[in-house]
């Protein structure tokens, strides 16, 4: 059986999985982007409402394992109210640090799927602004 010091499925990760924060869709998002992990079928999408370069509101949707969904939920909590420039500076270490558990190589893609959605989404809008 899993040992008592097994920290992988910590209570707050399960809580974010079962009760995801900011879950759903925005009606008129400024940015909307979705990514999947074809290996395991995990899907995460995010809708952003951005005003004056600040993420005013955010929702995520998707399906998949506890790690991918909890990671997305945690990330949306962090992103709400953050400037897009700051959001772009969030990196892998930040996301894994937020999860607070040791992620095995087999599960790293699950943990980082939401970050990929953020990166592609955020930079996509930057491109749109320049046009």
């Amino acid at each position: 059986m899993a040992t008592a010091d097994d920290q992988f499925y910590r209570e707050y990760i399960l809580d974010h999985y079962k009760n995801p924060r900011n879950f759903g869709r925005l009606e008129h998002p400024d940015i909307s982007h979705e990514e999947d992990n074809p290996l395991c079928g995990d899907v995460v999408g995010m809708d952003f409402q951005v005003k004056d370069g600040v993420i005013e509101d955010i929702r995520f949707h998707g399906r998949g394992c506890a790690i991918s969904q909890a990671s997305a939920s945690l990330l949306t909590e962090r992103l709400k109210g953050m400037s897009l420039d700051d959001a772009k500076r969030i990196d892998k270490a930040d996301v894994i640090g937020e999860l607070g558990i040791e992620i095995s190589p087999a599960r790293i893609k699950c943990a980082l799927l939401s970050l990929k959605v953020l990166k592609v989404g955020a930079y996509g809008l930057a491109d749109a602004d320049e046009e």
């Binding site: 040992t3 992988f8 499925y9 399960l14 290996l39 395991c40 079928g41 995990d42 394992c65």
Partner: protein, 405 residues
Amino acid sequence: MSTLTYDVTAVRRDFPIFETGIAYLDSANTSQRPRQVTGAMLEYFEKFNSNIHRAAYRIAEEATVRYEATREKVRAFINAASTKEIVYVRGTTEAINLVAFSWGRKHIKSGDLIVLTLLDHHSNIVPWQILAAERDARIEYVDIDERGELRQDQYAELLKQGPKLVAFNLVSNALGTINPARDMVAAAKKAGATVLVDGAQSTPHQPVDVRALGCDFYAFSGHKMLGPTGAGILYGRRELLEEMPPFMGGGDMIRTVAIEGTTYHDLPWKFEAGTQAIAEVIGLGAAVDYLSGLGMDAVRAHELDITEYAYEALSDIDGLTMFGPPPSRRAGVVSFALDGIHPHDLATIADRDQVCLRAGHHCAMPLMTRLGIAATARASFYVYTQKEEVDRLVGSIKEAQRIFA
């Protein structure tokens, strides 16, 4: 060996990996290898390591004899007519690509129909999609019913359209479904099609007779049947192989090479270019010996016993859905899903208990889409699987349900 005397404990003693304490439930992915296989390979490396078919010294002759001996072992194992019909490849994927490239490019023309099934592994889908795109050919897929078995009525309808090629797996890797291959091949031949059977999941687990089956091509991998990775087999009927152009050009597959052109070697070497996986082929021969020693009827009976045990144990678990047909019509594969728990999370929790379980789409994404799911958890069994390993899986499932409750 009868089923009553099948001694799984004795079999397990041949597999040193079980000394690590793992419960290995992923043999449909790749099997473990017994000492007899690794020993045969080690003997090659330590006693007669050299290249085959070229050198005039004693150890090279020994290497060549051992390497070629696997061909006769495999021929007898699948009851092919001749060793000329046994082509060494890296595995099932290469075997199917060889047929798609060599036979396919010669015979598949614009508008031709290729019939595949939703149970097929990506390795029996993608090569045909590439060929179809190149040749502007058409692919139709046989659907499944609610039990995960091919819809034979729809298959019969597709055959009426006169397909040029029919390709399907004898056993589904994702669900374990055993397809009625002999009837399906006979019907396809009657409709005038050339038939390839993907034997990756059948050859390791049940007696195979390619002549009784009646197919034109039959492909399988050594690493799923106790052999090493990197050695597999393409069986092809001699008439077809004779008229097929080579797959890869290079050394060993030629008779003479001149600046003006090249004449090719006889079967089966025409399809074996470059330095071969000598140790791996020798290992595959040892694996065939090992399985022949157990007897494939006994292997099938043992796996059926384990599968029935697992099917029953998993049926008792609330919130667990199993996919595929009942045990009597499936190979040693149980694919399932748990309410509220993603297969990857289950696999991670099982791994904490040293239970090796597969989670994912099993390289059968069209099937997963058809079932309306992204992934399943899959336990698969083999000659060394014991009921205690199934009990440990049940323990991991209950642990996962406790964590996710």
